[in-house]
Structures are given as C-alpha cells and as structure tokens.
C-alpha cells in the first residue's frame, strides 16, 4: 500500500517521479498541453494540414484523433490506475474495446461514404 505500490514512471521510463502526487500533476500538465495544441490547431487551421490528406482523411483530423488517443491513454493509465493493474486486466479492457470500436467505426463510415456516393451520383434530386 501507499506510494510503493504505484508505478511512478511515464513516457516509457523517461520520467520517473518520487511520489504518486507529483506524477498526477505532471500528467495534468501533459494533458493540458495536448489540449491546448488541439484547440490552437482547431482555431488556426493551418492551410497545409487541411489541403493535404493521408488515407483520404485530412492531416489535421489525423492529428486530432492521434492526440485524442494519446490523451485517452494517459487518463486511463495514470488516472484510472491501469498502469498498476495486471497485464490480463489491461488486455481484456483494451483489446476488447479497440477491436469492437475500430470495427464498428470502420463499417459505419464505409457505409456512410457509400450512401453519400449513391445520393451524389444517383439520378434523384435531393434538393427539390
């Protein structure tokens, strides 16, 4: 119990803290920085990130989604103490969720895209 039971290093051991509390504040700082970057990008919307895309998604949206997943990782690992749990518990939560959510998102987005094409290229006017 107490501090000795927490794993006190983040960034793959790059930073190690003396106490659990200082780790919490550091994670808060990190999450805030990431959020500020997101909001700044959302307001400035740099032209280069909007015009260019990768796998038919704008670069800015890739950045948003990746930063969101990074934030989710630190909230789960450090605030929800996933870092201190057994590997089995980590795996049962993460693998289940990431598989099901990725699958759901994939089929629904492909289907949405398909329906857009049908409505766009079809011979029916949707604006009457």
């Amino acid at each position: 119990m107490g501090n000795s039971t927490h794993k006190l290093e983040i960034f793959r051991g790059l930073v190690k803290f003396k106490s659990n509390q200082s780790k919490i504040w550091a994670v808060l700082f990190f999450l805030s920085v990431v959020t500020i970057i997101e909001v700044a990008l959302g307001i400035v919307k740099p032209e280069v990130l909007i015009v260019n895309s990768f796998l038919s998604m704008k670069l800015i949206n890739w950045i948003f989604i990746i930063l969101t997943i990074v934030k989710a990782y630190y909230i789960m690992w450090d605030f929800m103490h996933m870092r201190d749990e057994l590997r089995g518990l980590q795996a049962s939560v993460i693998i289940t969720l990431s598989f099901l959510i990725a699958y759901l998102a994939f089929i629904l987005l492909v289907e949405g895209n398909y329906i857009f094409d049908v409505m766009y290229e079809g011979f029916v006017s949707w604006n009457f």
Binding site: M1, G2, T5, H6, N20, Q21, I24, W25, L28, L31, S32, T35, E38, V39, L41, G42, I43, I50, V51, N61, F64, I65, L67, T68, K71, A72, I75, M76, D78, F79, M80, H81, D84, E85, L86, G88, L89, S92, V93, T96, L97, L100, I101, L104, A105, L108, L109, E111, G112, N113, I115, F116, M119, Y120, W126, N127, F128
Partner: protein
C-alpha cells in the same frame, strides 16, 4: 504489485470462497471495469452513428466553429470553441482532484479525501452548468435561417463584410392575423409549438428590399468553406423558402442538417447525464467520507471505484470534444 487495497483478508484462498481475486482486482473494481467497457461501447455506438450521418452528408454538414461561437459575458464576440476548451479543462482538472482524493484515501487521510472530493463535485457542477448554458445558446439560436421544401437551410450574410445577419435585422413587419394555436381556444382545440418571430413572407420581403444580403448555403466547397451565393442566385433561391427556423429543436435547426442538432442533443445530453449522475454519486460518497464510513471500514476503496467512473466520464468527453467540436 498493485495499488489495490485489500478488502478481504487473504486467509480464505480457495477458489469458491470469495478470497481469490480474479486479475488481482477486487470484486467491486472489476465490476466497475465491466460497466465502463459496456458504457464505452454505448458511447462509441453514438459517435459511430454520428460519423455515419456525417459521412453520408459530408458535403453539407455544419461547421462546428460557426455554430459554437459564444463565450459568457462576451456578447457579439466571435469566440469559436474557447468555451468548450475551458469546459474540457474544468473536467480534466476535476479528474485530477478525484485522483488526488483516491491517493489520499490510500494514505487514510480523511480530511484530504473530503477536501478533494468537494473540489471534484464543484468541478463537475461547473461542467454541467456550462453544458446547460451551451444547450441554452444552441436552442435559442442567434441569427435564424429559412428552410426550403427539400429541407435545406439558407442562412444570411452581408455581401460586403461577410458577417452573418440575423433575421430581425432585415425582416419587414407585415401585419398578419395568424396567431399561435392553443388547445384552450379554437374549434378543434389543437395546440402547436411557438411560432417563429417572423413569417416566411416577412423574411422574403425584407431580403428582396436589402441589396447587400446574400444566402449562405449548407453546401461545402473543396476548401471546407460554406458556399455563398451571388445576389442574383440568392434572389432566385429565396423564393424556395417555406419556413423560418430560429434556434434548434429535434425537428430542425438553423445551423444546417437536421441530424446535426439531434446528435448534439443525444451525445452531449447522454454525456451530461453521466456527469450529473457522477456528481450525485460523488456527493453521496463525500458525505460517507465525512461521517467516517470508510474510516471505520478500514479502506477507501469506494472512493477509488467512484473515481474510476468519474475518470471514465472525463475520458468520454475527450472523444466527444474531438469528434463533435474539432474534427
């Protein structure tokens, strides 16, 4: 190995005796994780459905920056997303105070647990209040728009400055006898929802009379901006207007696609309801801490469990923020 607090003495180690903890995690925490996984799937169902509808209407979906532009006490200032960003910080900060409460619980410091729980409750209340304020602005609307027979929204803006123009700035008053139906009078005792401030004819007449107003359509060009019609095209299109839309409800909204408001209400509403229940649960646990329930029990695992739920609510908001406001 684990920061888990031992709740059951481990002298009972046989599998069916209740002393053998699967995954080295207590029953309560494991059940909370079960709940979180299933609730996460509910939220991802909502967000994936949002993505579906958005991809289906990818060339006409409202742009969040143009919808959420309000900031408290700053009237008429265009402040895209600043307030939502502030709400995000409030929620992350209340997550931090929650995890500090859990940490104090590990050290059996009753006073600090109570203090941090109180801060968490205040943060959650600020968040729910902010969300109510956002809803209020969203429902009330600011500029108003007209809807065509095909369900498209036409907004109005100045051709010179490019600034949006509200209906009350140009609609002309035409005397009419049309009043809101109320179930207490009239032949058929039928009620109806509140009528818009202006009739379609008043908006069209005002539009024709003002040469510097043009129509902003729902359609998005290849650079991600809404397509603005020329004055000639606008005069042609305005005749297709069949109704006036002010603010938002579940049927139509002045921001654009009808589904946009529906998803806004359902996703942020579902999340807001989670925050509200989290605040209520936190208050219960807070009073339990104060009366010393957990001190007598010998551990603060209940704080840890409610903390898991609270962080999960924060986690969901991170995704809602990204997919609703940023992407």
């Amino acid at each position: 190995m684990s920061s888990t607090i031992t709740t059951i003495e481990d002298d009972n180690t046989d599998v069916w005796g209740g002393g053998n903890k699967p995954l080295n995690s207590s029953y309560g925490k494991l059940m909370m994780w079960f709940f979180i996984v299933s609730d996460a799937l509910t939220f991802s169902g909502f967000l994936a459905a949002y993505g579906f509808s958005r991809f289906k209407n990818i060339d006409s979906w409202p742009i969040a920056d143009e919808v959420f532009t309000h900031f408290p006490f700053l009237h008429g200032v265009d402040a895209p997303m600043y307030y939502v960003a502030l709400m995000t910080f409030v929620l992350i900060f209340s997550s931090v105070t929650m995890v500090l409460a859990v940490d104090a619980g590990h050290h059996m410091q009753k006073g600090r647990v109570a203090f941090y729980m109180l801060l968490t409750i205040i943060g959650g209340a600020i968040f729910v209040g902010s969300q109510a304020w956002e809803w209020g602005n969203f429902i009330r609307g600011e500029y108003g728009a007209v809807e065509t027979k095909g369900g498209q929204i036409y907004q109005f803006q100045s051709s010179e400055t490019g600034k949006r123009i509200a209906l009350h700035d140009f609609a002309v008053e035409i005397p009419t006898e049309r009043v809101q139906h109320e179930s207490k009078n009239g032949v058929w005792y039928m009620g109806e929802s509140t009528l818009p401030s202006y009739t379609t004819q008043e908006v069209i007449s005002g539009f024709v009379a003002n040469d510097d107003i043009v129509i902003k359509t729902e359609k998005i060009d290849e650079n991600g901006h809404k397509i603005i019609l020329s004055r000639e095209e606008s005069l042609n299109k305005i005749t297709q207007a069949v109704s006036v839309v002010e603010g938002a409800n579940l049927v139509n909204n002045e921001y654009g696609n009808r589904l946009f408001a529906d998803f806004f209400f359902f996703i942020t509403g579902f999340h807001g309801f989670h925050v509200l229940s989290g605040v209520v649960i936190n208050i219960i646990i807070f009073f339990n801490v104060l009366v010393g329930t957990y001190e007598r029990r010998g551990h603060y695992e209940m704080v840890e469990k409610v903390g898991l739920y609270w962080h999960f609510v924060d986690l969901v908001w991170v995704f809602v923020f990204t997919f609703f406001y940023l992407v």
